[in-house]
């Protein structure tokens, strides 16, 4: 099957939705949003905690509510969506190949493309923590999905490595669901998470935050049984003699996010080795003309409100691009 559209937005999370809506507002029609999940909203659907929307809506919303506002706005337009659909490839000529269960492989020719695929979490493998490879080690976001979407608890006695926001949020969530969270270990001398999350998610529940400490070994054959933590020096190297054993049956990793640019690379888009996002000279346009990037695929944001603001701009620039091409 073949489709021709003016704008194809890859990713139906907050970035993609805001960019698509803004394109439409700027007079562009025949817009398509492609989402891999069964529902629009992206990662917001599992971010059930409050704290979203203060800047954009002037009120405090949960993730699903914030997403729903955009989903509702979108359904009032003629923007088309394909959910449960995975983009397989993107070419510099802006041809997208996507696949789903009902249409099979779809070839989408688009005048402009907006990349809004989001990011992924850094894993244990990337941290190269030595030790065994038992069950019970999750990235915080995966644990969040298990708890909030599937209703499954990863474990009862949790240690969190890294003090990124998702880890802090999960510390509270696991505690509220009856698990013990014995501590958060952060290799840096200060937390990478928002201050309010430290207060609301850790201090409220008496969960200790250990700074300048990291995991140096994982123990347990089948299920994780504990980790060895150690203090680190100014070069972030573990200090011999400071090792302590911490018992746990679950280890959550909240050690950073990486923009997901595999499709972008396939399209020959230049990637900034530092941000791991596309190099955008101006107006969120990547090194391939007519391909724009917004949200966490462009750079990792702290706040969804800022994702929305930037994505609106990306949508506007994409609309301008199309108008300039049709003139």
């Amino acid at each position: 099957m073949k489709m021709n559209v003016n704008v194809a937005v890859i990713g139906g999370g907050p970035a993609g939705l805001a960019a698509a809506l803004e394109c439409r507002k700027n007079g562009i029609d025949n817009i398509l949003v492609i989402e891999r999940d069964k529902q629009l909203g992206g990662i917001l659907n599992q971010c059930i905690h409050p704290g979203f929307g203060l800047h954009v809506f002037g009120e405090e919303l949960t993730g699903p509510e914030y997403a729903q506002r955009y989903i509702d706005m979108l359904s009032d337009t003629d923007i088309k969506t394909l959910t449960d659909t995975m983009v397989l490839s993107l070419t510099p000529q802006k041809v997208i190949r996507a696949v789903n269960t009902s249409l099979g492989v779809v070839e989408i020719h688009s005048k402009a493309v907006i990349l809004a695929m989001g990011c992924r979490e850094r894993t244990r493998g990337m941290l190269r923590i030595p030790g065994t490879r038992p069950a019970g080690i999750y990235t915080a976001g995966t644990a969040q999905r298990l708890v909030n979407i599937e209703g499954l608890m990863p474990g009862k006695n949790t240690v969190i490595l890294g003090s990124g926001d998702i880890g802090l949020i999960m510390a509270r969530r696991m505690t509220l669901e009856g698990a013990k969270v014995s501590g958060v270990y952060e290799i840096m001398p200060k937390s990478g998470g928002l201050k309010r999350n430290i207060v609301q998610c850790l201090n409220d529940f008496g969960i200790p935050l250990h700074l300048s400490k990291t995991a140096v070994e994982i123990h347990g054959r089948e299920r994780i049984e504990g980790i060895t933590v150690a203090a680190v020096d100014e070069n972030l190297s573990p200090i011999k003699g400071t090792e302590e054993y911490v018992e746990c049956d679950t280890l959550l990793l909240s050690v950073g996010l990486i923009p997901e640019n595999e499709l972008s690379r396939g399209a020959g888009i230049l990637i900034d080795p530092k941000t791991k996002g596309p190099v955008c000279e101006s107006g969120f346009e990547t090194s391939v003309p007519g391909i724009f990037a917004c949200g966490n695929v462009y750079k990792v944001y702290d706040l969804v409100d800022n994702v929305t603001k930037d994505s609106v701009l990306a949508g506007r620039y994409a609309a301008e691009y199309i108008r300039s091409k049709s003139e």
């Binding site: 069964k38 529902q39 659907n45 059930i48 905690h49 409050p50 704290g51 203060l54 405090e60 949960t62 993730g63 699903p64 509510e65 729903q68 708890v147 909030n148 979407i149 599937e150 209703g151 509220l176 669901e177 009856g178 928002l194 201050k195 309010r196 430290i198 207060v199 609301q200 409220d204 702290d302 706040l303």
Partner: protein, 122 residues
């Protein structure tokens, strides 16, 4: 008189607000609030000293939906001390699709006077 430092959690700025307060007949009374950058901060910091409250979010079992859980929240903040009582009640609840965002899932959760509402369509 006592001065308490409160880290504001209303927005990501995380202001360090100072609250002067004293106990009068078993009740905390706010005398002064400093270093807040907005009225919401004033309100939050005062409440934090007198009666700390939190918006509680969680999920309930959902039958017949796309996913087995439906996200919910307390419509208004509930006393921090009642969070676990609220959770106990939330855990007993199961709803059946379709549910609309904003639908009341539990009325007056754990006697707090606050309703638990859906935060998602399910």
């Amino acid at each position: 008189m006592q001065t308490t430092n409160v880290t504001c959690v209303i927005c990501p700025k995380g202001c360090n607000i100072e609250v002067d307060h004293e106990n009068r007949d078993g009740k905390e009374v706010v005398l002064a609030v400093r270093n807040n950058k907005c009225p919401r901060g004033y309100k939050y910091a005062s409440a934090e000293v007198v009666n700390p409250e939190r918006v509680l979010t969680s999920t309930v079992r959902l039958e017949g939906g796309t996913y087995p859980r439906l996200s919910v929240k307390s419509e208004y903040p509930v006393p921090k001390t009642s969070l676990f009582d609220c959770m106990r009640e939330i855990r007993t609840v199961s709803v059946t699709s379709p549910v609309k965002m904003g639908d009341i899932i539990i009325e007056n959760v754990a006697g707090t006077g606050v309703n638990i509402v859906a935060t998602h369509n399910g």
